[in-house]
């Protein structure tokens, strides 16, 4: 370390400093930012080695890899920020195969002029999310674009994990007769983001549900290894996710609106914004498809987990090769729950 300190005679002024073009230039300023910000907070041996890659033993079994770019606006929102979101989002994408996530990488695109104090807050929240999840950020990259060419901070994370033996979980595996479960209230993330948008600010207690779900998944697959499908209903909400699965598995889906957990505040916010909560994003929820006879056991395990106390059985899979997702409405009629058309709300994650 003494050698390092010589390289950087003065520490970066994190309190008042701003991102400038040298922080992405490959020179000393970049090295210092990496050292005093990323390596410091992410704090793990693989990253501290200072190589352009992280080297580790390949575990036995099937591995999964997933990548997720994050462009959320605003960068800070009730219940999290782009840092924690970028960790949770990718861990969840890995976990929805039933995998145990092992490592993350992180690519930062920073805009010239962005306050270092805010960047540090983001990195610290990212580091905490990774630590809490037990999935370290072991390699990364930093680029800087000119002022006006970015929007503060964009973060792309990649995750890898390994799937325990005996699992076969895929969006294509839903079967007629399966029960469909959700791990909790829908729409919290989208409404939290909207409430903090500059042109839309309204007062609400709703916080983003952003959370890493691999622990929940581990409990679920341990109890019910027969789970056919897992997916986190992020952009496009529950509606988009179910349409994707219906299409992939060539089945129909029937939902029961009364069973779908929805907070009154989220319902109300959607009502006055003209949104349908089925299409509003979640960042800490999953849907699971399993054989109907296992549904009760699965529900019990889910409800025992802190992230899924409000889990519910919300629908069933039908034999319909047209892939329609329909819903018995709380009012007693039937409607389609279609793919989202156009853009309901841009830059939600």
């Amino acid at each position: 370390m003494s050698q390092m300190e010589k390289r950087f005679p003065a520490r970066i002024n994190m309190r008042r400093g701003k991102v400038d073009m040298t922080h992405g230039s490959g020179g000393r300023a970049m090295a210092q930012l990496i050292e005093e910000l990323f390596v410091k907070h992410f704090d793990n041996d693989l990253l501290a080695q200072g190589n352009d890659q992280a080297m580790f033993d390949a575990p036995k079994g099937r591995m999964v890899i997933s990548v997720d770019g994050h462009v959320v606006s605003p960068l800070f929102f009730p219940g999290g920020n782009i840092g924690s979101l970028s960790v949770h989002g990718t861990i969840n994408d890995v976990a929805m195969s039933g995998a145990v996530p092992l490592y993350l990488s992180a690519g930062f695109i920073l805009e010239e002029g962005y306050p270092l104090a805010d960047l540090e807050k983001i990195v610290m929240s990212m580091a905490k999310a990774a630590k809490d999840a037990g999935v370290p950020v072991v390699t990364g990259d930093t680029k800087v674009v000119e002022r006006g060419k970015g929007d503060g901070v964009f973060i792309t994370t990649t995750g890898i994990g390994v799937v325990p033996d005996g699992l076969d979980i895929s969006g294509a595996n839903a079967r007629a007769g399966d029960a469909i479960l959700i791990s909790g209230h829908i729409g919290d993330h989208g409404v939290a983001i909207m409430s903090s948008r500059e042109n839309l600010a309204f007062e609400t207690q709703i916080e983003s549900d952003s959370a890493a779900l691999h622990g929940l998944v581990a409990d679920m697959v341990a109890a019910v290894p027969e789970i056919h499908t897992l997916r986190d209903p992020t952009r496009g909400g529950l509606a988009a996710t179910l349409n994707e699965i219906a299409y992939q598995s060539k089945v129909g889906i029937k939902l029961f609106e009364e069973n779908i957990p929805l907070r009154g505040e989220v319902d109300a916010a959607c009502e006055f914004l003209g949104l349908d909560p089925l299409y509003v994003a979640n960042e800490g929820k999953l849907v699971a498809f399993c054989p109907a006879e296992k549904a009760k056991a699965l529900l019990k395990v889910m409800r025992a987990h802190p992230f899924a106390g409000d889990a519910a059985i919300i629908g069933e899979v039908l034999d319909d090769d047209l892939g329609f997702v329909t819903m018995e409405t709380g009012f007693g009629g039937i409607r389609i729950v279609d793919w989202l058309a156009g853009e309901q709300l841009p830059r939600i994650c």
């Binding site: 042109n199 839309l200 109300a268 892939g323 009629g333 409607r335 389609i336 279609d338």
Partner: protein, 384 residues
Amino acid sequence: MKYVDEFRDKDIAKKLSKEIAKEADPSRQYKLMEFCGGHTHAIFRFGVQDLMPDNVHFVHGPGCPVCVLPIPRIDNAIELAEQGAIVCTYGDMMRVPASKKNSLIKTKAAGADIRMVYSTMDALKIARDNPDSEVVFFAIGFETTTPPTAVAIKVAAAEGLQNFTVFCNHVLTPAAIQHILQSPEVRELGQVHIDGFYGPSHVSSIIGSAPYDYFAEEFQKPVVIAGFEPLDVMQSTLMLIRQINEERFEVENEYTRVVTPEGNEKAQDIVSEVFEIRRSFEWRGLGEVPYSALKIKEEFAEFDAERRFSLTEGTGTDVKGCECPAILRGVKKPTDCKLFGTVCTPDNPIGSCMVSSEGSCAAYWSYGRFRLDMAKDNAKAAAE
């Protein structure tokens, strides 16, 4: 959710469903037009049709603000944006097809500064924040959205905002309903049979129930002003069927929790202070409708985009084969259109009725197509 859940109650819906079935005379058909897209949306979103007897039919009217705006007016908005103005508009307007396969969202992607706003106050803020740019609010909608536009113009005048104008496309509901009832398709040809009307809910909160008295009497059609919640629609259906059975042609108000006979006089005053009635205005689907729209008064001329900028007299027309005009008049159903669900879907709208969730084509497609054998055939053909 208080004040909302009460109007979506399943058990009351079941009771009303039974009462309607009892009241409806099985030897006849009931064709009821809901003027407003808000009703169309509620009917489909909650599956209200499933609770109706087979002889009660909803005929969807033209009351979807983005659906009735003629293409030349959208072309004008695009023209303003291309000339460098910041054009502010409500979200649904962004995707409505204009001439030459263009739209505001495509114009935005090509570099123009077009911004989606949630209220006229957002547009005013954009004008204040960009004093060196012309900021045009692309104002659309029925009587409900007109008072906020009037307020914006008054605020701009009070603040002396030099760079804010309104491209006014506000239209009037009673004139349009009267036009439909006078159309040859209804009056003479008998192509469209309408037994009664669901009166607008939000519009009526502004204008009151009195403006409908004239055509209930003149055209001998019952009108029931109905709220936008599904129970409102069902209760109003029962009221309409009773009127029809008893051969009454009255304006009844189901939406008494909001609508009064006089309406919101304060809002009416501010509207008449800023706007005056146009001699004629083109509606998509209905053509030129006399005295059916508003323009900005001379007194506020400096805030009128049509006066400040020279706009091209538009010639844009609907795409060949698109049945939006007939659908907006209630002459055809979305499924009568050859483009419906084949090349025209909410992801790739060809006609305006496929854009907004209040448009009947979008409602049919997004909420109801599982009912349609045609849609199943289409989906099968696409899969093969």
